[in-house]
Symmetry: C2
Subunit: 149 residues, 2 copies
């Protein structure tokens, strides 16, 4: 019976804490983000939509207030389809700060379209869902050093 208790303790302790310092979380989340971003860069917002949770919240420089929920994001992204053509990007200094069930990815992004470059700050908060998938619950895109309001 002592063995049973030890196994239970081990299981829950592992579940609660083991992923906190797991570099695997960072690699997983950066890979998910890059896959969605690379679809976006070809005019397909579907990668981000599939990666976002039903209760996602969203900011970017074109929204006049926070968007709440996946349905609102789908409507917002609808006119974007086919309109983005990014030829090259640099995800600068991605960093993941994680607990066992939530993680925040931050990075700067340089997106190139022909001779133009747009420069971004990005925050993506991911939550580990009961089915074991990481989903975005908060997206915040902003320009680096915009002129003003």
């Amino acid at each position: 019976m002592k063995r049973a208790i030890l196994l239970i303790l081990l299981f829950f302790t592992k579940m609660s804490f083991s992923q906190t310092t797991d570099t695997g979380i960072s690699e997983t989340i950066i890979a998910l983000e890059k896959a969605a971003l690379e679809k976006w860069n070809q005019g397909d917002p579907g990668g981000y939509l599939n990666l976002s949770a039903d209760d996602v919240t969203y900011f970017d420089p074109y929204t006049d207030h926070r968007l709440d929920g996946l349905e609102a994001l789908k409507i917002y992204y609808e006119p974007v389809k086919g309109q983005i053509h990014v030829s090259r990007y640099e995800m600068l200094n991605p960093k993941v700060t994680a607990t066992n069930t939530m993680a925040v990815l931050t990075f700067n992004l340089h997106s190139y379209a022909g001779d133009n470059v747009s420069k971004w700050n990005c925050t993506e908060v991911y939550r580990l869902e009961p089915n074991g998938q990481w989903k975005i619950v908060q997206t915040h895109w902003s320009f680096i050093k915009p002129l003003s309001q």
Copy 2:
């Protein structure tokens, strides 16, 4: 012994999942944020510095890349001391999405200084530290609808 196993299960289950839907987390985090913001509005960045973790990451519209770490944030905020005079603010629609050990607060902010109003998107990611305090691990401030880069 069965009772011991049940108690262990109860303890770890509660620790792992109970706070996910706890409105107490939302209230706690919004109160922490407002207290820091109200100090900021009087020219004192100390509220945010005390609330930020050693490994905090930070974006705002004046940074040309992400700031990493509390020491970098302290240096960045040093010239701000005494320079902010916000007479009134509206924290619009604050929302907290939480797991047991990490939570993301988002809101729009209208800050009034005399006749001027500045309008902001804000993301704050909080982590529950081993000492039971919530600390900010990621801050992202951006203007609502800035002109351009």
